[in-house]
Symmetry: C2
Subunit: 226 residues, 2 copies
C-alpha cells in the first residue's frame, strides 16, 4: 500500500523503515526536505537525527508534508503534538477521504521534563484533527507505546498487552485494526468508540512519561486485565 508517513522523528523513522521492509511504498513527509537532511548527530534521546538516519535509508521516498499526503492511500501522523496541525494544514485537501492513523500526543515540553498535556480536559488532539479535517477518517492509535513497541508488540511480554483504537468511522477502525494485527502482530486491540476517546488515550501520556522516568526505559506498555 502507498503510505504517507508524516514526521521525521523516531516515530516516523521506525514506522517508515518497518513498513518499507514489509513491502509498502512509503513516502516520509517533512516541513522542509533540505532542513531535515541537514540535521545530523544525535538527538536528546541518543537516536540519530534524521539527516544521518536518512543516509542509511535513502531508498525510502522523502517529500514535503503535502507530497507525502498526496502519495499515501493512508496517512500516518507521527509529527510532534505542537507540529501536527500545521503539518496537516500544509497537506490540506490531500487528506480528504483517506484513513489517517493519528499517533501524535499533545505534549507541552516548554516547562521541561516531565511535559504536561497541552489540551484541556474536554478536548484532545485527535478531536482537533478530526474537527479541522472532517473529510479525513482519523483513527487514533499507537500513541500509548514507544515506536519500537508499535512495530514489534511481541518484543514485550510476548505481545500480552493492550492497544487502543478510537475514531468516528467504524470501517476505517476495522481496517486499521486488521492492518495492525497483520503487519505488526498486535493481538489485544480495544475499540474505545468515537474520536472523543482520544482524551482517554492521550491521557495515558502523563503516567507513561513518569513510568519511563521510573524504569529508565520506554520499553513498556499497558495491559488491561479483566
Amino acid at each position: 500500500m502507498k503510505i504517507g508517513m508524516l514526521g521525521t522523528g523516531m516515530v516516523g523513522q521506525i514506522l517508515a523503515a518497518k513498513l518499507t521492509e514489509l513491502g509498502h511504498d512509503v513516502m516520509i513527509g517533512t516541513r522542509s526536505v533540505v532542513d531535515s537532511k541537514a540535521r545530523t548527530g544525535k538527538n536528546n534521546w541518543g537516536q540519530p537525527e534524521f539527516g544521518d538516519w536518512y543516509k542509511e535509508h535513502s531508498h525510502i521516498k522523502l517529500g514535503t508534508f503535502a507530497e507525502a499526503a498526496a502519495h499515501g492511500e493512508w496517512i500516518l501522523n507521527g509529527t510532534t503534538g505542537h507540529g501536527t496541525l500545521p503539518a496537516l494544514r500544509s497537506a490540506g485537501a490531500a487528506l480528504d477521504g483517506k484513513i489517517m492513523i493519528d499517533i501524535s500526543n499533545p505534549l507541552d515540553f516548554s516547562k521541561g521534563f516531565p511535559p504536561t498535556l497541552s489540551v484541556s480536559n474536554t478536548d484532545s488532539l485527535g478531536e482537533q484533527i478530526q474537527r479541522e479535517f472532517p473529510n479525513a477518517k482519523v483513527v487514533k492509535t499507537l500513541n500509548t507505546v514507544n515506536a519500537y513497541v508499535m512495530v514489534a508488540p511481541k518484543s514485550l511480554g510476548n505481545g500480552d498487552h493492550t492497544l487502543f483504537v478510537c475514531g468516528n468511522d467504524a470501517d476505517a477502525k476495522a481496517q486499521v485494526t486488521a492492518f495492525l494485527r497483520r503487519e505488526f502482530g498486535w493481538e489485544q486491540i480495544i475499540d474505545m468508540g468515537d474520536i472523543t476517546n482520544s482524551r482517554a488515550t492521550e491521557g495515558l501520556l502523563p503516567i507513561w512519561i513518569r513510568l519511563m522516568g521510573v524504569f529508565g526505559t520506554p520499553m513498556f506498555s499497558f495491559k488491561v486485565v479483566k
Copy 2:
C-alpha cells in the same frame, strides 16, 4: 490499627467492611451522621445507599469527619473528588502527622457521563491535599481501581496487575505499600515518586471510565508490561 475511613460511598463501605473484618478498629467519617443514616434505597450504581448498608454493618463505628480523623492513627480518604477538601477541612488538625491514604479522584460529573477531570494539567487533587495539609503524610494510591478490586486484587488475573503509589514521605509510602501487600494481597506496587505523580494516576481516570463503558463492568485493572 485504628483507622479513620472518610466517606460513606462504595469506597468507604467496602474498605471499612474489609478492614474491620481484618481486625482493624475502623470509624467511618461523614459530613452528617443523621443525614447518612437517612439515605436508603439504591444509588445510581445499584448499590445500597449508606443508611441501608449501615443497618447490616452497625458494628463499625460512625462519626463526623473530625471524629473519624481523630480516631484514626491512619486516615483513608474515600470521599468524592469535590467533597474531599471540605471533608478534610472539617477534620483539620486531626490530620497532622498522620499517614493519609488518598483514594479520591477529581472528577466533574456536572456535564453528565463520562465525567472529565476537574483539575488542570499541572495540578492534581493529591497535590491540593498535600499543599493544604502540609503536616499530613499523603500517599496517593488505590484510586485506579474499583473498590472491590482495591481489597481483593487477586480477584482479577490472579493479582497479576499493577497498583501505583506516590507521595512525598518515603517512610509513609513504605508503610502503606507493606500494608497493601499484607492486608489486601497486592503484589505489583510501583512507587512513582513524589505527590506530583498524582497527576499521572488521577490521569488514568478518563480511560478507566471509558473502559468501564466498553466492558460494562468496573472489574478491571491496568498492568504495566515490561
